[in-house]
Assembly symmetry: C2
Homo-oligomer: 231 residues x 2
DNA sequence: CGCCTGCTGACAGTTTATGGCAGCAGCGTT
DNA sequence: AACGCTGCTGCCATAAACTGTCAGCAGGCG
């Protein structure tokens, strides 16, 4: 069977993903159960197939930013869902992510059978107000701050036009109709507050990591809500 | 290089996708430039890897509903977009598609690095009214009707509670906040009309194909709109 | 019944993959 | 500068796989 080698390459890729720091070829060879010489050949194969693997003498191997998904079976329905979702992202998310959604869509479309591609093109509409890209704030940076549990300093104007500066602990980004909302713990008010991204005048991500876990904050916030929200 | 065989299998898959009707092994063997015996082995390989290929004696081979996407490179951002999109679908689309979105999400999550998986789990919320699954209508059937350009017979109650029966030519499905809307040409009014899926009392998809092209209807409808809508 | 087609087994020839060995080059530390 | 670690490449013999040809059986269709 030809499965042996392909599977090994996949394992290799996954192993490289697991490690964040450089890994030596020897380690990888052991993990995939193969000789060092063959490992070098495998790496070469993966690189030839487009994987962004960087090797440096004296250091080891690192998988660069791109991710290669292993071949996956998607049912027709799942594909439809992926396509619909990507189109929504392309329309509703902030410009950077929206662009990524469009790119992903293009990649998927490229491998779709012709008749399905046509369907995808035009059978669905997203009606309603378009995303406001008037956000002065960099929503991608906010996502990153959430992911890394960083303190966020906001220069914010509320609905009454009052301007304030505050330090908050962002733990989630919410999509509400056509606006995006940061869920956060506010140091000023000592309570949960939410902030529309389009009302942010200016912001800065601190290097400081806030002292609570993002997931815990989310859980506590959920308990303060009357209406249960789904993730 | 090990590319030879893998590439051939991919070609085989794509070829099978191209054909709608059963294809004989001989033809496939010629197209992939390989002997008949090897083709049988290739088919067996693909089946072993999960491809739903059906062969019937005296008929030929057909690729069943599942689609196998070739390996693809997604950037971190594109992955984020795919995940966000899938989560939106899982929440906002009709039950059947929503389930497919959740399934796709699970498949993607399975190959993601651990730290990214955690982020994906909980950093995004979809606030607002949840999808109404009170649709009596089968939205999947509506999608299919649009795709196949079938006449749809609606038993519909409008906002004033007036109930009507009409034959329409559906050409697009729109997402408007939390409701879904069918865009269609109404035979009764001889004009474009839209119908909320949650107001459909009953419906039937006719075997008849309506006499216009879906894409043309969409184009004409767009021209009647004051506000340009994006696809 | 005969034809077309899918499917499997066996065998030999060819190709490919693998591992061990040797050697060169780049990086960091001593 | 010297040393160790590591990536990288070439060569070669062996093992594994892939492939084509030939043969035969079984199932749909006319």
């Amino acid at each position: 069977m030809p499965v042996a080698r392909s599977e090994r390459l996949l394992t290799l890729l996954q192993t490289l993903r697991r490690y964040r720091r450089p890994v030596t070829g020897t380690v990888l060879a052991e993990e995939t159960g193969v000789s060092l010489r063959t490992l070098y050949r495998d790496i070469a194969s993966l690189q030839a197939q487009g994987a962004m693997i960087e090797g440096e003498a004296g250091i080891g191997y690192v998988l660069k930013p791109g991710f290669m998904l292993p071949p996956m079976m998607f049912s027709e329905e799942e594909l439809e869902a992926l396509v619909l979702g990507s189109r929504w992202v392309a329309r509703a998310a902030e410009p950077r992510l929206a662009g990524a959604g469009a790119d992903a869509l293009a990649k998927i479309a490229a491998v779709l059978p012709a008749d399905m591609r046509e369907t995808i093109d035009s059978a669905t509409l997203f009606v309603g107000r378009k995303r406001q890209d008037e956000d002065k704030a960099d929503v991608s940076a906010i996502r990153k701050a959430i992911r890394l549990e960083r303190v966020l300093e906001l220069h914010y104007g509320d609905e009454q036009g009052r301007i304030s500066r505050r330090r908050v602990w962002p733990f989630a980004l919410g999509y509400f109709e056509h606006v995006r909302i940061i869920m956060a713990w506010c140091e000023l008010r000592q309570d949960f507050r939410h902030f529309r991204t389009d009302r942010i005048i200016d912001m800065a991500v601190h290097e400081t990591r806030y002292p609570r876990r993002r997931t815990v904050l989310l859980k506590e916030w959920r308990e303060t809500q009357d209406v249960p929200m789904e993730s």
